[in-house]
Amino acid sequence: MIDTLREMFSYTFLVRAVVVGLLVALCASLLGVSLVLKRYSMIGDGLSHVGFGTLAIATAMNAAPLTVSIPIVLLAAFFLLRISENSKIKGDAAIALISTSSLAIGVMVISLTTGMNTDVCNYLFGSILAMSNDDVTLSIILAVVVLGLFVLFYNKIFAVTFDETFARATGVRSGLYNMLIAFLTAITIVLGMRMMGALLISSLIIFPALTSMRLCKKFKTVTVCSAIVSTLCFFCGVVISYIKATPTGASVVLVNIAAFLLFSALRYVPWAKLKSRFLPPKETGMPDRPDSHEREVS
């Protein structure tokens, strides 16, 4: 195993991919908790399709993919957020509209320039070879910015996620923080898209959050747990894809599915019984352990 890993990391492109991938997985999982709870999961999906379109255009124009994609996807994030906040237009339909339009534009641009070839496949399902050195630098800087802003605004993001009206009523500028969440998501998606693929990147956002919500009962533990789950799953996925020569994006998603099923199953383990059998009874404390909260039948 160690030898395989050593061999794997002797390839610089793999090291680059893993570094960027881990950072993206981390950012995506943190933002994912908020997005899933706010019922904004579809925004992530919509943004990744917009990213596909911009990526195709950037390649056609021979421009640096990230520098073209990021501003356009940020703009899309702004509009998607506006759409879902405006109750007059049905949010999910509008998101579907935008995502399919960008998909179609992207496919059209690719077929007119390079022709329908492996490029399309790489964009849709990801390729581990996609990262250049410049990309890595930019990705690391942006990922650090995303992480920093998330940690700095953690409490505000919690408040806005849990109860926007209350947050607004007590003077928190919830519109601003919604926008922040959407922008950070947009950046994360563009960074991870070429490796994970436009169709699969949103799984990095949704899976870890849902997985940790199976077991964790506090916002903080959900956030920390999904960060750990996400990075672990990504790493395992990349190693599997290296050993078995499978597509990276799909491998990562499959590992995520496995984690989700595992956590769902763990839910049914009678923790309280196990605890009382193997551990001496304890009156108070133990706040973070899932076994200290028995389900209440109300």
């Binding site: 605004f153 505000k156 109860d163 209440e296």
Partner: protein
């Protein structure tokens, strides 16, 4: 000392007037209950008092001593909150956020205030429990504790007892009364429950797309509209 003065205010959604002709004032230490049927503009008025909605006509004068960051608010629960993975303590502490301004983290004082409100509402045993696993009444208490964390002089409650059983409802009313009397917090509450409103509140504002009564609770019972509405409650 008037905290809020409403002068001929109206509220509208996209040009359709929801409620109009609002003339009332809330003084420091008052317990005002806003009653009326569904769609009579109660929740809209609360949004107006919070400054989340601008009156389409008339004015709402808010006293200088009442800062937005010091108004406690207990909104109606949303569907998304019902399965939210957060501990009660996290929810309660988030009530302090408004007073933090741009400072990102809570101070020791914020935590102390949260603890104080947890004690005050008698929910110490819930603090580490998961919000989504609490019963309806427990969730309301947690939300009330959160509102108290934000409270300075004014507490706004939007149907705090909706969907609760009679015993829990009564407990919650007693808690709110205690907050009003002992802490000296001005309370403005929206409610369907006219009987309790008359029993606990000292002022009543009755809305039906417009203001049809404003005055003390005793006058309300004597007035035609009050008697009719309280009689009508039995049929609901």
């Amino acid at each position: 000392m008037a905290l809020i003065v409403c002068q001929d205010a109206s509220f509208a959604y996209e040009g359709n007037t929801v409620v109009s002709g609002l003339n009332f004032e809330v003084n420091s230490g008052d317990y005002l209950c806003i009653v009326g049927e569904n769609g009579s503009g109660k929740s809209t008025l609360i949004k107006g008092l919070l400054g989340l909605k601008v009156p389409s006509d008339g004015r709402i004068l808010i006293s200088d001593e009442l800062k937005t960051s010091e108004t406690g608010y207990m909104p109606q629960q949303t569907a998304a909150q019902k399965d939210f993975p957060a501990s009660a303590y996290e929810v309660i502490l988030s009530g302090r956020l408004g007073s933090r301004g741009i400072k990102p983290y809570y101070s020791r004082k914020d935590r102390a205030i949260a603890e104080e409100n947890i004690r005050r509402l008698g929910i110490a045993d819930l603090r580490n429990r998961c919000y989504r696993e609490l019963s309806g009444g427990q969730q309301q208490r947690v939300l009330l504790a959160r509102a108290l964390c934000a409270v300075g002089k004014l507490l706004l409650l939007d149907e705090p007892v909706a969907g609760l059983d009679p015993v829990v409802t009564q407990e919650l009313y007693l808690l709110i009364e205690k907050i009003n009397k002992e802490m000296g917090v001005t309370v403005v509450m929206v409610s369907h429950d006219v009987r309790s409103a008359v029993k606990f509140a000292d002022h009543i504002l009755h809305l039906r797309q417009e203001q049809i009564f404003f005055g003390s609770a005793e006058d309300y019972m004597k007035s035609g509209v009050g008697a009719e509405f309280m009689g009508g409650v039995n049929e609901l």
